[in-house]
């Protein structure tokens, strides 16, 4: 006889995080979503990607992240003088004098949070792909959930475009190699950092007792 997992007692139910309504969970197809009848919030979405796809995209994201940080995102030239900026250099530019706290915020939002997200996703998914729960599974999943609002690569990408327009009036501006990597990375991160990873809680449920 199969032992009853105490965590599965309520697995057929779902509670709306926005208004506390209780629903019976239904299974969804790809691209389908269930909405709360009371407040209209999204209750859950159908699985879009398998663990294998997610893992492949996470590894790609890790490579793109390395490129986006290793190469300058913008370079400028003025009367024979050249200058270029990487993501890290722009964080450093905020680190002088009385405005140092902003360097920490900028560093968290455009480098640290995306880096941790990608690293944790690779770690969790590599083990999940082999059908196992990664060491520290619970802490990793919780950290991922808390990191999500602080990862702002899409804002950074728009910021780079604004900076290019802003400087184009004064001097010559060239987009760098890092910008292309960052553009692709932003799209990938939006795809992989969503709620899709939540499926691991159910997939690996019997290993978590």
């Amino acid at each position: 006889m199969k032992t009853l997992n105490p965590m599965n007692t309520f697995s057929h139910l779902i509670i709306c995080q926005h208004c506390d309504s209780l629903f019976e969970s239904v299974s969804l197809n790809r691209w389908q979503k269930a909405e709360c009848t009371r407040c209209g919030a999204v209750l859950k979405r159908g699985q879009r990607m398998s663990v294998q796809t997610l893992l492949a995209l996470s590894i790609t994201a890790a490579l793109l992240f390395a490129f986006a940080n290793a190469f300058p995102v913008i370079s400028i030239s003025m009367e024979g003088l050249n200058n270029e900026a990487t993501l890290w250099a722009s964080v450093e530019a905020l680190a002088h004098g009385r405005i140092t706290p902003m360097a920490a915020v900028a560093g968290l939002t455009i480098i640290l949070a995306p880096m941790l997200q990608i690293a944790l996703l690779c770690w969790l998914l590599a083990f999940a792909n082999a059908g196992r729960a990664a060491p520290g599974f619970r802490a990793c999943m919780r950290t991922l959930e808390h990191l999500r609002p602080w990862s702002m690569l899409e804002v950074c990408l728009l910021g780079i475009l604004v900076a290019i327009v802003k400087l184009a009036g004064m001097l010559n501006v060239h987009p760098g190699l890092g910008l292309w990597a960052l553009g692709m990375l932003t799209v990938l991160l939006i795809l992989i950092s969503g709620k899709d990873i939540h499926r691991l809680w159910d997939d690996l449920a019997d290993q978590l007792i």
Binding site: C39, S90, V105, L167
Partner: protein
């Protein structure tokens, strides 16, 4: 159409981090081991505190210059608003509108909406609950785009550094502005949207 039951009435609550359904008497989620509460702890007081702190910092954020441009000996200081006006005058009205939206409209909208939600929740108002719920989700969705100006200043300051010839340097205003963004984000996170619907449940 009959409305679904409230989890609270059945003594159930969801885990904030992993959405596992827990019983009311549990303090830690059996699945992810994170702390669980029926409602976010002290939600209204915390949100008020963070929101008012952000509102106070918003004044110096708009009055103090966010960057100093030094072009071949001519120094000029820019506040957030004067940066927008400069873009407008130079003909790039689209960028001007974008920065105006991200740096002025979004923070003001957050102050108004979160303030409105807090007041109506404290009065246990049943007015437009579905719409208020939608307003909260909108605040959560667009809130972090305000960070745009901070990142633009950082990038431009990192790039334009030609020693004595010309340079662009970040100024104190950007700290205040960045803190406003962080504080309003924390305020939105500490507000519990379920408080909107608690007005319907008698015994809360």
């Amino acid at each position: 159409m009959s409305q679904p039951a409230y989890a609270r009435e059945l003594n159930l609550m969801p885990c904030h981090t992993c959405a596992q359904i827990c019983r009311r008497d549990e303090h830690r989620c059996p699945r992810c081991n994170g702390p669980v509460h029926a409602r976010k702890h002290n939600s209204i007081a915390r949100t008020w505190a963070l929101l008012l702190a952000a509102l106070m910092l918003y004044i110096p954020a708009n009055l103090l210059p966010v960057m100093r441009t030094n072009m071949l000996g001519n120094a000029s200081d820019n506040t957030i608003m004067s940066g927008v006006i400069e873009f407008w005058k130079s003909g790039s009205w689209d960028i001007a509108a974008l920065i105006f939206f991200a740096s002025i409209v979004v923070p003001c909208m957050k102050f108004l909406i979160l303030g409105l939600l807090l007041v109506t929740c404290q009065r246990k108002s049943r007015w437009a609950m579905r719409e208020r719920s939608r307003l909260y989700r909108m605040v959560e969705l667009v809130g972090y785009w305000s960070m745009l100006d901070v990142l633009v200043v950082a990038l431009v300051a990192a790039l334009v550094q030609f020693r004595s010839l010309s340079s662009i340097d970040p100024m104190l205003g950007i700290v205040f502005f960045g803190l406003v963004v962080v504080l309003t984000m924390l305020a939105a996170m500490s507000f519990d949207p379920r408080l909107i619907w608690d007005a319907e449940v008698e015994d809360v």
